[in-house]
Symmetry: C2
Subunit: 138 residues, 2 copies
Amino acid sequence: MAITSPRAALKRAELAGRLGCNLETIRYYEKIGLLPEPARTASGHRLYSNGDQVRLRFILRARSLGFSVEDVRSLLGINDGRPSCADVKALAEAHRGDIRKRIADLRQMDRRLGEIMAGCTGAETPDCALTDNLFEDR
Amino acid sequence: MAITSPRAALKRAELAGRLGCNLETIRYYEKIGLLPEPARTASGHRLYSNGDQVRLRFILRARSLGFSVEDVRSLLGINDGRPSCADVKALAEAHRGDIRKRIADLRQMDRRLGEIMAGCTGAETPDCALTDNLFEDR
DNA sequence: CTTGTGTCTGTGCCAACTACAGAGCGTAAC
DNA sequence: GTTACGCTCTGTAGTTGGCACAGACACAAG
């Protein structure tokens, strides 16, 4: 196989390797319609163009920012046509609100856990402040 | 002489209502072995004792602290017998580390999103700094 | 007796992948 | 030529932690 030139068609594992995603993820995105059906060799092996690579990179970046697959669908204009900057901004603001709520929830968990663990001695006995607290009749 | 308090047995919906969980969650916890099979009426309706209620409350509290179902299984001593305080502490510390990692990940997402959104004007045009950024050839 | 509500069971569905089985294809060595 | 190995193909099932529904049965009120 030739050294990877920018426009050479890639096989599935090559594309996955370049973008650092799992092999099967690519087939999954194709199945759910985020990626178009790629070209094929005569025997049916998938061949990915440079455009396919650009699109997959977009999807992976959006996912790494926490956007859901449905969000990515919107960002790509699959749902209602290409979104305006206002649409994108609204989506991103909503997503950011969601992230912040999740952070707040996790912080509360951490705080509660810290309070409960304060009495946890780490002894070798079955008596434990943490389990006692959860069993407590409040 | 009755030793246990003569609290009435609860039906599934009553138990769910009291502890504020979904009806089906109870059946699910029974199915995966977190809750024991409860008593039944002659016709097969489940009847929950006070002990069942205590155990379910424990499970729900542990879950609300973010412990996984497998963690709860360990806390209840289903896996390897009743855990020592040291076991519980180790489990809780590991879980806390996990929570903190998730917080850190979410904060990074929020920060990256904020940086990318800085150029997002909210205009009615399809040109958007956010999508441009994700498509960028870096 | 009928009507309405509750419970029973099994099953399917959700996100977002990941893994695997069994078949076929490609290529390098021998 | 063929044999071996590795990659790809397909469909399907598993993951986590439940929620929802269909169709059958139970039970209490009127």
